[in-house]
Every structure is written in structure tokens, then in C-alpha cells.
Amino acid sequence: MNPWILIVIFVVASYLGYKIIKEIPTLLHTPLMSGSNAISGVTILGSLVSTAFAVSLGSKIIGFIAIVFATINLLGGFLVTDRMLKMFNKN
């Protein structure tokens, strides 16, 4: 993809994210952090593709570790956030 488009995406997403997240009350900052943390496991997309096309054994191993890390980040993050949010809204 054209680098300039990627940079524009970066700027726009940062801006929108900043606007929206600013409105979140401190009450929910811990779940926000663990939830957004889970989302940063989005790297899994890169690791799946890179690892699938990895040639050398070394790259395959490193790619495998990347997938494991990103999946822990994703699943662990979303589940623990859900656990917390459940406590906030019991009824």
C-alpha cells in the first residue's frame, strides 16, 4: 500500500481515537485500558500472514511466538475486560 495513505490512516485514526476515548469516564479506565490493550493484539493479523509465508525455520519459530503472544494479548485482554465490566453492571 502507498506509504502516504498509511500515514494518513495513522493520523486520522489517532485523532478519532483521541476524540472518542476522551469522553470515557475515569470509572471505566481500567477496563478501557485492558480492552484497548486487547485490541493492540491486532498485530496477530501481521503475524499470521508473515508466519504463513516464512521460509526459514528461524522465522517460523519467531512467527509462531508472535502468534502466541498476540493471541494471549487478544483473548486474555477481551476476557478479563468482560469479567470486569460484568462486575460494574450486575443487574
Binding site: L6, T26, T30, G35, I39, L48, F64, M84
Partner: protein, 470 residues
């Protein structure tokens, strides 16, 4: 625009809506689920798009990571949430680091300068996030001493590392493609070392800022690695997380009375408050490790605490990290129920830095079933203290210290604090009468209308409950 680009935009918007729903406790759970769904769709679509659905290695990685993730998420206690988040931050940063390494070794011979430079940046941010977060998690979990540790010549080493980073980036841009892998590996190693240095010199009480910053870094690492790979979804979603971490970092800095620049510089230099950090640490460790002698509550001055509570109509409870360390949440819940059953109006005032991460206190109180509409933010409740009969402070010190408004030149001067001293009566439960993390004496303790009850909060609050239940 290709199909994948369209999917990326749609999924980024879903993630944004998911985060937006987190603005209210009522919709937050759905918001989190929506973000998770967006991620699932992203994984499926990228595997379909690249036709890699049938590569067993990928599924093996997902299975291993998924199992570990589930176990972690269900086993972790709420008090351990800061170290859990720190650990997850680190894994996210680590994933970005490894992805870029693989990407570089896959595409050695035909990488564009843009990809090479962004790749190196991703390695730096990812490496610092990985090792820094693991150290932070270790400190928060008390596996590593909480006091700040810095190498002799720390400042010089840091400066050299920054120069090395700049040189490596220039080299990567002009190097022949075959040396690129070597440059990448060296960059990764230096970043890991720098991450360790950066986190080791931060004290336990500074963790709210540190993990917010690392949170931002983990998103940034993902976003930059997206630039390297050329994946728009990685770029946008990573940027959103980066922004989120940045906001939390700003809030924490403001609440702890530091500018972001101060924190970055302060972290690069040895901090002034080193000795205070040490005392705080030893206090906290003492609470856990040995049972504290409970001193009898000070002789009541004019009225006994029972009388004060009896006559009160409006009560505000101010919890601090000391409550969490003493594991006194259940006793506080009992106290809250007791006061409500006596027909009193009870609210909680939560300072933004109460706890070890943003919003930590709210989670701990939600866990013991205290309804979130009783948990008031500082801005919302600070002008209500003057019409309050009794304020009960439990394990908080600096955040209720009126010296922040008056004592010029001290580390807390100008820091926003809860104006507890404006209430008619204040009852303070604290481990001792020593200063809090900042090292500034608490002016509250010597005021006429304040009663200080020292000792382990879970025991002293329990005794207090028994007394007022009569």
C-alpha cells in the same frame, strides 16, 4: 480500493464504536464484545484473503496463545489487574517486534526504504514495550523490588542508546539488503535492554503513569509494524490504542502533578524522590509480610467516633491504595452497608491516581458489589465536602493532603487533591502517621476535626464496624 481495504475501514469503525460504547457502564460490555467481534472478523478475513486458512502452524499458535490467555483471564485477581495489563502490554509489544523480524527476514531482498525505516522504529517501540512491561509487571507483582534501580552512568548509557538508534535507522535506509537482518537484530536487542533500564528506574508509586505509557507504546508498536507490513487495519487500530494510552498517561500525569515531559525527563534522570519511594515500598511490604500491632484509636477529643457517625447525615468515603494493600474492600463494603442501613447518605470519592493504574479503585469496589453510581469522580464531588458531616479516609494520604494547596515548593504543591478537610469531621484509617508516597507530611493529621486511626485497615475498619453497629 481493494476488498481488504474496505474491510479494514469497516472493522476500524466497528472498533471505534466498540470503544465509544465503553463510555457508560451500561453499554461497556457490549462495546468490548463488539471490539472482540471486529478482531475475530479481521482474523478470518485476513486468513481468507491471503489463503492461509489451512496452515497448521498458525492454528497451533492460536491454540497455545488462546489457552494461556483464557487461563490468565480467569485466574487473575482484581488487585492484580495492573500487572496483568502490564503483562498483556508487553506481549502485544513483543508480538509487534517478532512480526517485524519475520517480515524483514522474509522480504530481505526487496524492502523499500519506508518499510525498512518503519520496521526499525517498530522494533524499537516493540522491544521497549516488551521488556519494559515485563519489568513493570514484575515490580507490580513484587517479584522485583519496587524501588527504582538505575545503573551507574545511566544517563550516559541512555544517551548512547539514543544515538545508536539514530545511527541504526540511517544505516538501515542506506544499507545493502543483506546486512538489514543484522541491523534489525541489533536494534531489537538494544531496545530490549533499554526497556529494562527504563522500567527499572521507575518506583512502585509511579506505575500508573508507566503502564499508561506502555499501553500507548503497545498500540504504537502495532501501528508502526502495520506501516512496515502495509496493513491498513494494523495501522488504524494500533493508532487508536496508542491514542487511548496517551490520554490515560496525560490524566495520570495531571493527577500526579507532573507534565509528560517531566516524566520522560524524570525517568531519564535519576529521580529526586528516590528515598521516599523506598520508604513507601517498605511500608507496603510490611503490611503484607507482618501483622501490624493495632494501636488503640486515639482518645476521642470532644466526641467519640460513634457519636460523630450517629449524628452524621452525609458521609463520604475516600479509599486509597492502602485499602487495597490491606485487602480491606470487604470491610469497607460492610461499613458502607452499615451506614446506609442507618439511613445515611454515603458516597465514595475516587481520586484519579488511587490505586496502581487508572480506574483501579473503581474495579476493586465494583468487585465487592458497590454500585458504580456511588463512585464519584474528584471533579464531581470535590465541592460537596463542605456540606458533608463525616469523611472517612481509608488508606489514602497524598491525595487528601491539604498541603498540596498551600505548601509551595513541595512535590505535591499544585496537585489536585480531594478537599476532605472541608468536612465537619474527618476519620482517617491509615497504617501510620508517616507521609505518603510524596514524602510530604499530611497536614490533615494534625487538624482539630480529624481523628487518625492507625493500623492495618482490614482490622481497624472491622473494629470500627463492630463499634458503630451497636
Amino acid at each position: 480500493m481493494g476488498g481488504y481495504q474496505v474491510i479494514s475501514i469497516v472493522l476500524s469503525i466497528l472498533v471505534l464504536i466498540g470503544i465509544k460504547l465503553m463510555s457508560s457502564p451500561k453499554t461497556a460490555r457490549q462495546g468490548n464484545a463488539l471490539s472482540a467481534l471486529a478482531m475475530l472478523l479481521a482474523i478470518i478475513s485476513i486468513m481468507l484473503y491471503n489463503e492461509v486458512l489451512t496452515v497448521p502452524l498458525l492454528w497451533a499458535g492460536i491454540a497455545v496463545g488462546g489457552t494461556i490467555g483464557c487461563i490468565l483471564a480467569y485466574k487473575v485477581k482484581m488487585i492484580q489487574m495492573p500487572q496483568m495489563v502490564a503483562l498483556l502490554n508487553g506481549l502485544g509489544g513483543g508480538a509487534s517486534l517478532f512480526v517485524v523480524l519475520v517480515e524483514i527476514s522474509n522480504n530481505l531482498t526487496y524492502m523499500a526504504v519506508f518499510s525498512k525505516v518503519s520496521g526499525l522504529l517498530a522494533l524499537m517501540v516493540g522491544g521497549i514495550t516488551l521488556s519494559g512491561s515485563l519489568i513493570a509487571a514484575g515490580k507490580l507483582d513484587r517479584k522485583i523490588p519496587q524501588k527504582p534501580v538505575s545503573l551507574p552512568g545511566d544517563k550516559v548509557i541512555s544517551a548512547l542508546i539514543m544515538i545508536a538508534f539514530a545511527v541504526l535507522i540511517v544505516l538501515s535506509a542506506i544499507c545493502s539488503n543483506l546486512t538489514l537482518l543484522a541491523i534489525a537484530i541489533i536494534t531489537a536487542l538494544i531496545s530490549l535492554i533499554y526497556g529494562v533500564m527504563f522500567a527499572m528506574r521507575v518506583g512502585g508509586g509511579d506505575m500508573p503513569i508507566t503502564i499508561s505509557l506502555l499501553n500507548s507504546f503497545s498500540g504504537l508498536a502495532a501501528s508502526i509494524s502495520g506501516l512496515t507490513i502495509g496493513d491498513p487495519l494494523l495501522v488504524s487500530v494500533g493508532a487508536i490504542v496508542g491514542a487511548s494510552g496517551l490520554i490515560l498517561t496525560q490524566i495520570m500525569c495531571r493527577a500526579m502533578n507532573r507534565s509528560l515531559l517531566d516524566v520522560l525527563n524524570g525517568a531519564a534522570r535519576k529521580k529526586k524522590t528516590v528515598s521516599n519511594n523506598e520508604t513507601t515500598t517498605s511500608h507496603e511490604v510490611r503490611v503484607i509480610e507482618e501483622k501490624i500491632n493495632i494501636k488503640a484509636p486515639k482518645a476521642p477529643r470532644i466526641k467519640s467516633v460513634e457519636e460523630i457517625i450517629d449524628e452524621a447525615k452525609k458521609i463520604i468515603i475516600v479509599p486509597g491504595y492502602g485499602m487495597a494493600v490491606a485487602q480491606a474492600q470487604n470491610q469497607v463494603k460492610t461499613l458502607f452497608d452499615l451506614l446506609e442501613s442507618k439511613g445515611k447518605e454515603v458516597n465514595f470519592a475516587i481520586h484519579p491516581v488511587a490505586g496502581r493504574m487508572p480506574g483501579h479503585m473503581n474495579v476493586l469496589l465494583a468487585e465487592v458489589d458497590i454500585s458504580y453510581d456511588k463512585l464519584k469522580e474528584m471533579d464531581e464531588i470535590n465541592d460537596k465536602f463542605k456540606e458533608t458531616d463525616v469523611v472517612i479516609v481509608i488508606g489514602a494520604s497524598d491525595v487528601v493532603n491539604p498541603a498540596a494547596n498551600t505548601a509551595e515548593g513541595t512535590p505535591i504543591y499544585g496537585m489536585p487533591v480531594l478537599n476532605t478537610e472541608e468536612a465537619k469531621h474527618v476519620i482517617v484509617f491509615n497504617l501510620d502517621d508517616k507521609p505518603g508516597y510524596s514524602g510530604v507530611d499530611n497536614a490533615l493529621y494534625t487538624m482539630e476535626h480529624v481523628q487518625l486511626i492507625t493500623g492495618n485497615a482490614s482490622e481497624t475498619v472491622n473494629e470500627f464496624n463492630l463499634k458503630i453497629a451497636k
